[in-house]
C-alpha cells in the first residue's frame, strides 16, 4: 500500500524576464490501486504538476510538500524518485539516439529493482509486453524514441510502465495524438499494469475519451494552477457536456 501526498504545492518557472508562478497550492492524495483523473484546459499547469513530482530541474518548488509513504520526495534526485516507485509517462517523450530500447529497458529495470533481471525471463517479459502493445520486435534494437511516431512513443512509455512496475504512475496526456485503436491498446496496458501491480494512477488528460477505457475513481478539475473542483466519475461526464467554460468564466 503506497500513498503519494501532495500538500499546498507551489511551483514557479524562470521566464526570460521574471519568475512565473504556475502551481498555486495543489492538494492531492493518490493511493495504490486508485485512479485519479486530472482534467483541465491547456496551460492550466497539468504538465507542470507532473514534471514537478518527477523532479524536472526547470521547475522550482517554492512551498508545499510531496511525500511518498511519508518520505520527502522533493529532497530526492530525479533518479531516486523513480527508484522510490514513481513513474512519469511523458507528454513528449525524449529521443535518446544510439541507445537501444533493449539496453535502455534493461538498464532502467536494473536501476529500479536494484539488481539485474534474470536474462531468460526478462527477455520473455519484454517480448510479451511489446506484443500486447502491438509493438514490432524491431523496436527493441532501435534507439530510444528515435524516429518513433507520436503513437509509438506513447506505447513505449506504457511498455516502460508495465516493465518497471512503479507504485504510483503519472500519465501526462498519454491519450493525445492517438487514434481509437492505439488509445484502446495503450489503455489496456495501463489497466494491466494496475491490475498486476496495484499501481496508483494519476491520469492527466484534456479530453474525456480515454476515460471510456480507464475508469477513474476520482476526477479533479485543474484550472489556473490548482484543483478547482473534485468529484467522482460523474464529474467527467459533466465536463464532457459542458467543457471547461464554466471554470474559465469564473476566473474573470
Amino acid at each position: 500500500m503506497a500513498t503519494l501526498e501532495i500538500r499546498d504545492l507551489h511551483v514557479s518557472v524562470d521566464t526570460e524576464n521574471d519568475t512565473k508562478e504556475i502551481l498555486k497550492g495543489v492538494n492531492l492524495t493518490v493511493r495504490s490501486g486508485e485512479t485519479h483523473a486530472i482534467m483541465g484546459p491547456n496551460g492550466s499547469g497539468k504538465s507542470t504538476l507532473a514534471y514537478s513530482i518527477a523532479g524536472h530541474p526547470k521547475y522550482a518548488v517554492t512551498s508545499g510538500t510531496v511525500t511518498l509513504d511519508g518520505e520527502d520526495v522533493l529532497a530526492m534526485s530525479v533518479d531516486e524518485r523513480a527508484r522510490a516507485g514513481l513513474f512519469l509517462a511523458m507528454q513528449y517523450p525524449v529521443e535518446v539516439p544510439g541507445v537501444t530500447v533493449t539496453n535502455f529497458l534493461r538498464t532502467a529495470k536494473t536501476a529500479v529493482s536494484g539488481e539485474a533481471p534474470k536474462l531468460r525471463t526478462w527477455t520473455k517479459d519484454v517480448k510479451a509486453a511489446m506484443a500486447e502493445l502491438r509493438m514490432d520486435n524491431d523496436f527493441a534494437e532501435r534507439g530510444v524514441n528515435e524516429g518513433f511516431s507520436g503513437g509509438e512513443k506513447k506505447r513505449h512509455e506504457i511498455l516502460q510502465l508495465e516493465l518497471l512496475e512503479p507504485k504510483i504512475a503519472i500519465l501526462d496526456e498519454t491519450d493525445s495524438g492517438l487514434d481509437v485503436d492505439a488509445l484502446r491498446i495503450v489503455s489496456e496496458g495501463v489497466n494491466r499494469a494496475q491490475g498486476k501491480d496495484n499501481t496508483g494512477v494519476l491520469l492527466i488528460t484534456h479530453y474525456t475519451r480515454i476515460l471510456r477505457y480507464i475508469k477513474p475513481d476520482f476526477v479533479h478539475v485543474f484550472v489556473d494552477g490548482k484543483v478547482a473542483e473534485e468529484g467522482g466519475p460523474e464529474l467527467a461526464e459533466r465536463l464532457e457536456e459542458e467543457g471547461y467554460d464554466r471554470f474559465l468564466a469564473a476566473r474573470v
Binding site: A54, G55, H56, P57, S77, V78, D79, R81, A82, R83, F87, L88, M90, P93, V94, E95, V96, P97, G98, V99, N103, F104, T107, A108, A111, V112, G143, V144, Q160, L164
Partner: protein, 394 residues
C-alpha cells in the same frame, strides 16, 4: 613568364608559397604538394590549412631538424610482414604520399629509410598486425611508414601511439587491386605530446580501404587522412572518433580525391568535447574530378559538447566537376549535451553518471558499429568511459 611582369623591381623576391597563402584557394586540387621542405614556409596561422591549429606552439616541431636519438620506439607484432626499409623513391615509397604540408615534408625529408610493412598478395591475415609506437618525452622524431597490401590481401593493421614527445609522421598506404585493408591509428599520447601526421592511401581497382582514427590523448594531434584511387570500382571508408579534454587540440582533416570512375567513399567522424579549452577540428574535403563519373560519396561529422568552454570546428567541402555522379552529400553539426535526455533516463531510475555515459555511448554508437572490430572497439569504449569518469569528478 607572366610572373615577371608583376615583379615591380628586380630585387623583389616573390615567395610562391607565401603568395599562394595570401590568395584564397579556389580548389583543393591547387594546394601545394611537394617532397621539398623549402616549398612549405613556416606557417603563420592564416593559411587555409593551418587556420585552426595553434601554430605558435609548433615552432619547435616545424623546425627543419632531424630525429633525436631515442625519440621513439616502434614494435611490430608480426615480423613476417617487415620488408626491407625503403629510401625515398624506392619501391612504392612516394607513389601514394606526396607531402601536403611542412610537417609531412619534414617527416619525409628526415626519414632516410622508411619502415616497410608488406602484406603479401592473396593472403588473409587472421590476426591484426600491431605497430606500437612509443614516443620519449622532450624529444622529437620524424617518421615515415609504408604499408603495402598486395593484390587481394586481407589485413588489419593497428598503429598505437603512446608516450610523449613531438613527432611528425607519414603513413603511406598502397592498397593493391582487390585487396581489403583496414588501417587503424590510435592516438593515446600523454598530455604533453604533439603529433602531426599525414596518412595517405592510394586505393587499387576494386579494392576496399578503411582508415580509422581514434584520438583520445595528446596536447596537439593533427591527422590528415587522404585517399586517392589507382583505378575504378574502389571503396574507401574513413572513420574517426575523438574525445577532447581541457586544453587538448585534436584536429582531423580528411581529403578524398575522387580521381577515378565508379569509386565510393564514406567519411564519418564523431567527437565529444569536455573541459575548458578543449578544441576539436574536422575539415572534410571531397573533390570529384571530371573523370570520376558514377562517384558515390558521403561525409559526416558530429560533435557533442559536454561542457562550457569547449569548441568544435567542423567544415565540410564538396567540389564537383562532373555532372554524372551516383550520390554526393555531406552533413556536419555540433550540439550541446541535451539535459532533457539526461532527465528522461534519470526519470527511469538511472543514476546521473550512468545516464550521461549512456547518452555519450549512444552518440558514438553508429560510428562504433561501423568500426565493428572488437580489437579496436572494446578498448575504445573503455577509454571513453574513463574520459567521462574524469569529467564526473572534475
Amino acid at each position: 613568364m607572366l610572373n615577371s611582369l608583376l615583379t615591380s623591381s628586380p630585387k623583389t623576391h616573390i615567395d610562391p608559397a607565401a603568395q599562394l597563402a595570401a590568395v584564397p584557394e579556389k580548389s583543393r586540387a591547387e594546394r601545394t604538394a611537394s617532397f621539398d621542405v623549402a616549398d612549405f614556409p613556416m606557417p603563420h596561422g592564416r593559411e587555409e590549412d593551418w587556420r585552426f591549429t595553434p601554430v605558435d606552439r609548433l615552432t619547435g616541431l616545424l623546425a627543419d631538424e632531424p630525429t633525436d636519438e631515442g625519440a621513439m620506439t616502434v614494435e611490430v607484432s608480426d615480423s613476417s610482414v617487415i620488408a626491407p626499409p625503403l629510401a625515398a623513391g624506392e619501391g612504392v615509397r612516394g607513389t601514394a604520399l606526396i607531402p601536403g604540408d611542412r610537417a609531412s615534408a619534414l617527416a619525409h625529408a628526415h626519414s632516410r629509410k622508411a619502415l616497410h610493412l608488406l602484406l603479401a598478395a592473396d593472403t588473409e591475415y587472421a590476426e591484426p598486425v600491431r605497430v606500437q609506437v612509443r614516443g620519449a618525452q622532450g624529444k622529437r622524431s620524424n617518421g615515415h611508414v609504408v604499408i603495402e597490401a598486395g593484390a587481394n590481401a586481407h589485413a588489419l593493421v593497428i598503429l598505437e601511439h603512446t608516450g610523449s614527445g613531438e613527432h611528425t609522421a607519414n603513413v603511406e598506404v598502397v592498397v593493391g587491386d582487390g585487396a581489403h585493408l583496414t588501417v587503424v591509428s590510435v592516438q593515446q599520447w600523454a598530455d604533453d605530446a604533439i603529433h602531426l601526421a599525414q596518412h595517405e592511401a592510394l586505393v587499387g581497382r576494386d579494392a576496399t580501404y578503411r582508415h580509422i582514427a581514434v584520438t583520445l590523448g595528446g596536447a596537439i594531434v593533427r591527422i590528415n587522412a587522404n585517399v586517392k584511387y589507382a583505378g575504378p570500382g574502389a571503396d574507401a571508408t574513413l572513420l574517426g572518433v575523438y574525445f577532447a579534454d581541457a586544453h587538448q587540440h585534436l584536429e582531423h582533416r580528411t581529403y578524398i580525391d575522387h580521381n577515378a570512375p565508379r569509386c565510393k567513399s564514406l567519411v564519418t567522424y564523431k567527437g565529444a568535447l569536455q573541459g575548458d579549452g578543449a578544441h576539436s577540428v574536422w575539415v572534410g574535403d571531397v573533390l570529384i574530378g571530371a573523370e570520376a563519373e558514377g562517384t558515390d560519396t558521403y561525409e559526416l561529422n558530429r560533435n557533442l559538447v559536454l561542457t562550457d568552454g569547449a569548441r568544435a570546428d567542423s567544415v565540410p567541402n564538396l567540389e564537383i566537376e562532373t555532372g554524372d555522379i551516383a550520390g554526393a552529400g555531406h552533413a556536419s553539426s555540433t550540439g550541446r549535451f541535451d539535459d532533457e535526455q539526461l532527465f528522461y533516463l534519470q526519470a527511469r531510475g538511472i543514476p546521473e553518471h550512468e545516464a550521461r555515459r549512456l547518452v555519450v555511448r549512444g552518440f558514438f554508437a553508429d560510428v562504433i558499429n561501423k568500426i565493428g572490430v572488437p580489437d579496436v572497439v572494446d578498448p575504445l569504449m573503455a577509454a571513453i568511459d574513463e574520459e567521462l569518469a574524469v569529467g564526473d569528478t572534475a
